[in-house]
Symmetry: C2
DNA sequence: TATTGTTATACTCTATAACTATA
DNA sequence: TATAGTTATAGAGTATAACAATA
């Protein structure tokens, strides 16, 4: 029998080797990743807005806590953004007295970045908010599925 | 034994009930999702750039193929963007003769959107590119891990 | 009056080039 | 000259309000 020329939608019931699979958006990990990521991101944005913070600012606080005294170039690399984008982000954190830039290096061009006491306090709260948001947005999964998902995602991005 | 007050990094070896876990960025599914998604997205952007297309334009073509004759409002919903954003996107696809707007509905305010013949042809190629990009960017996973990841991601975003 | 597609607009995010001050 | 941080700027992406044509 010849190949049908005008079939509408082939259900993915047969696990063919490699070629000729459906190849619609629903079979792409990238597409599923994007939709899931958008969902979690929107949820987190909503929760963080109570503190007038964006996810990147939360991440910055967590990174600074993990590497106190780091330079802005390090922070840019850790956040996967360009150095110029760090400036307004850090300015905001400094305005709100959550973090500080301190000239404390042998190289006087650079700053060491540290959390303030209130920055540390707020970060504790933010971590709880983020963990709750994570759970809420992945309510469709049980604990072992969450662990499995996290493991697979790390494998993908750490490779 | 009392809780240590100044440990640097607690390896997640014990599965404590809910509280007092590390709660750093690395334990957040949202964070891992974002990093993995960025990786796949960047990879796809690179591959699609050979055809001067963005991921959203590829998605639009795939959605139009799946629902030929749909209206712009439907496309906006499917792409999870606002109707005004559909206009320049569709303009571009129409300029390049990949898709067409046709007044074919009882409601004369709306268009039916269809792929052109060359749009269909290009989409076939784009699907292969996207599938290859997906595989390449998830090279750290084997086939069963990929299937598991896709299953979990769908569960998250379809919930 | 409500709705489809559109325009205008603005705000965020992101990226690059150029500047300053140190090195 | 090279580098850390900064400034200026431009391009995407995203969102809202308002408009024209049609219902």
């Amino acid at each position: 029998m010849a190949r049908s020329a005008h079939s509408t939608a082939v259900p993915p019931e047969s696990d063919v080797p490699a070629a000729a699979l459906d190849a619609s958006l629903e079979n792409l990990i990238g597409y599923a990743l994007r939709r899931a990521q958008l969902k979690l991101f929107q949820n987190l944005i909503g929760k963080l807005s109570a503190h007038d913070l964006r996810p990147a600012q939360f991440s910055a606080l967590a990174i600074i806590e993990q590497s106190p005294g780091l330079m802005q170039a390090d922070l840019a690399r850790a956040l996967a953004i360009e150095p110029p984008q760090v400036v307004p982000l850090l300015n905001k954190l400094e305005e709100r007295a959550l973090a500080v830039r301190i000239r404390c290096k042998p190289d006087k061009r650079s700053y060491g970045i540290f959390l303030s006491k209130s920055g540390e306090t707020l970060l504790k709260e933010l971590k709880q908010i983020a963990a709750d948001s994570d759970l809420e947005a992945t309510a469709a999964l049980n604990e072992s599925e969450r662990a499995e998902l996290l493991k697979l995602l790390k494998k993908v991005y750490q490779y």
